[in-house]
Symmetry: C2
Subunit: 217 residues, 2 copies
Amino acid sequence: MKSSKIPPATITRLSFYYRKLEHLIKEDVNIVSSEKLAQLCDVNPAQIRKDLAYFGEFGVRGVGYYSTELLGEIRKILGLNRIWRMAVVGIGNLGSALVAHDNFHKHGYHFVAAFDSDSRKVDQILQHGLKISHIDALPQVLAEMESVDIGVIATPAGWAQDVANRLFKTGIRSLLNFAPIQILTPEGCMVQNVDFTVKLDNLAYFLTSELTRDDPL
Amino acid sequence: MKSSKIPPATITRLSFYYRKLEHLIKEDVNIVSSEKLAQLCDVNPAQIRKDLAYFGEFGVRGVGYYSTELLGEIRKILGLNRIWRMAVVGIGNLGSALVAHDNFHKHGYHFVAAFDSDSRKVDQILQHGLKISHIDALPQVLAEMESVDIGVIATPAGWAQDVANRLFKTGIRSLLNFAPIQILTPEGCMVQNVDFTVKLDNLAYFLTSELTRDDPL
DNA sequence: TTTTGTGAATGGATTCACAGCC
DNA sequence: GGCTGTGAATCCATTCACAAAA
C-alpha cells in the first residue's frame, strides 16, 4: 500500500465497484475476480487492481476477491461506514426532489437542515420531519445542531456563490453544487458540481458532430 | 483547423466558456483574451486556445477574441443554435423537478414528451402543457410526433436499462441518465450520466481522507 | 507590442505483461 | 493453473515557449 497520489478518477471508480459489489452480494456471489468485476463495470481489469492497490492488498492470488470483504474495504476507504449529515439550501423543485429522493438516505447521506430565502416556505415540514428555515438564520441553526458535513446548493446560479460563502463560514468544508456556475472555494475545501446543462451540451455536440461529420469512408 | 481527435474534456470546457461569454456579453465586454477568460474559468490560457484551435481560428493576434463572435462560434460547435427535443421517463420527484426547472427551456432544451409507469399519473398536465403518457405507449406517442433528440431517464435504477432500451428502439441516440447505474449502450449512441451518489461518495472520501491523513508536516 | 496559434515538452492516467503467490 | 500486484510501456491531455500575425 502506497497512498502517494491517488487519481481522482480512482475514487469515482471505487464508488462504481462498491455499487456493483452490493449488487453481486445480493445475488450471493461470494468471490469475484478483477476480470469479472471489470466486465460488469466496463473498465480494464488491470485498472481495478491498480485502483485497489493504492489502498492495500485485498485480493487472493489465484482466487480473486471475497465480495463481502472487498465491499467492507471500499466502504472504509470511501468513508461510507458512517452517517453524513447534510444541509440543503434552496427548496425549489430541485431542492424538494433531493430531500424526497430516498436514495441518499439509504446510502447514509441524511438531510438534517434545509434553508430557503422565501419566508412563505419557512417552517414548512419536508420528508423525515425536516423543517425549512430562513437562509438568514443559517449560522444560528447550524450552530445549534451537531456539526453538518456537507452543504447542498440547489439555488439559482445567481445565489450560489453567496450561499457557498455562508456555508463555508459555518465550517462546512464540502459542497454538492447543483447551480451551473464554478464556485470559488477556499483552501482545504471541496466542491463537487452536478451540472445538467453541461451534460446536455455534450449530448448536443455529439448529435451535431454526427450529423455534420464529413463521413469520408 | 484540424478536427482530428477532440478530447471529451474540451467539449465540457467549451460549455463553460460559453456560459462565461454569455455573462461577459451581458456586462458589455466586447473583447476578451484567453488570459482573461482563463482566469474566469479557472483554467490555463493555453488550454483555451488549444480547445478553440480544434475547431478553427477565432481570435485576432495582438487583440483577443470578440466576445459575441466567439460565443456564436461555440454555439455552432456545440449545436446550441437550435431547439433540442427531449422525452423524460419517470415523473417522480426528480422527473417533475426537471420538467419544472426552466434552465433547460431557456437554453433550448425542451421537454416534448413525458412518461411514467404509474397509471394514476397518466394524462396529468405538467409545465408548458406537457401531458404524461403511460410508459407502454412510448413507441406510439413518439412515433406520432416530430422526432425526439434526447431521452432523459429519471426512474429508479432497476428500471433504467429497460427504459433505455425502449428509448433506443425508437431511434433516440442520446440519453441523459439520472439513475445510478451504467447503461449498456449500442454503437453510435451516447449516454451522459448525472450521478449524485458518486459525487457524494467523492465528498465523503475527501472528508474522510483529510481526517485520517498521517499529517506529518 | 500584444496576444493568438501550435510544435515540443511535460505530466498523468491507463494498459500491458509478467513476476509472485495461492 | 489461475489470478493478484506492480514496474514498464503506452496513450492521452495539459502546459510551456515561441514563431507568426495584427
